[in-house]
Amino acid sequence: MNFFFRKLLWLTQRRDKQAELRRELQFHLEEEAEERQERGLAENEARWAARREFGNVSLVEEATRDEWGWTRLEQLARDALYGLRQLRRNPGFSAIAIATLALGIGGITAMFSAFDVVLIRPLPYADADRLVMIWDDMGKTDVTSRHQPTPAEWIEWRRLIHRSRDQLYG
């Protein structure tokens, strides 16, 4: 079991580990007091001396607990929660901020999507630069007189196109 999984496991056992740590430190204090008693101190005095030498129990507990978890990650989570609370406290400002961000991100995304398809991404077939559009021209000058060919016309043109290819691309 590696570092990551052990810490994950400890995260689920947090309450048990807390009690366990307390017992562990309690044992240290008792052991220290007993040792002093053996050296001739009265029981009460020995207990106090052990406590004095130990220092601040809850500080030791806290420093040890820090080794169990992801201190940095937990701080990040706390900061995020704090941010959320601030947003909820000031809904008007939050709404404007969120709307601004949403519009900004949406606008940029739409623009880039179009930009990407039109200018960056190549057309999904070979020789895209040789693409031509063919139409039937009823009048001579008017653009609106152009019509799309019918399938029959298209087939006929395709037969002819082999001959006129050089003219078309020339």
Partner: protein, 118 residues
């Protein structure tokens, strides 16, 4: 060589971990005994603060270098015993040679100065 014996030596960064691993090489034991052993063996020069001992023990446990279990102490009380794991043994060897190289280098630099003074 004229040396003034300091009453207490500060722990260098990372040395406590090495001392804990070395202490556990003798067999599993609890935090209090580890602290006392380091203190006694160093002729009271090293004082292990609980505020660094227990975080170090739990850090080493998280790394998998030592493993903990509740056992009965020699006075018959339940205590959290730590023992060296296979990984911890490897780590001890690595840390130890690193430390020896470091202290050798320090000695090389410090000792010629002593000779010059004499």
């Amino acid at each position: 060589m004229n040396r003034t014996a300091p009453s207490r030596v500060e722990f260098l960064q990372g040395t406590l971990d090495l001392l804990i691993l070395r202490t556990l090489l003798a067999g599993p034991t609890h935090g209090h005994a580890i602290a006392k052993h380091i203190q006694r063996t160093s002729e009271e020069l090293l004082q292990v603060e609980t505020g660094s001992l227990y975080p170090a023990l739990h850090r080493l446990e998280a790394r998998g270098w030592i493993a903990a279990s509740w056992e009965l102490s020699n006075k018959g009380k339940r205590a959290r015993f730590y023992r060296l794991t296979r990984l911890g043994r490897k780590q001890l060897v690595a840390e130890r040679s690193k430390w020896e190289a470091f202290s050798h280098a320090m000695a090389l630099i410090l000792n010629p100065a002593d000779r010059e003074i004499q």
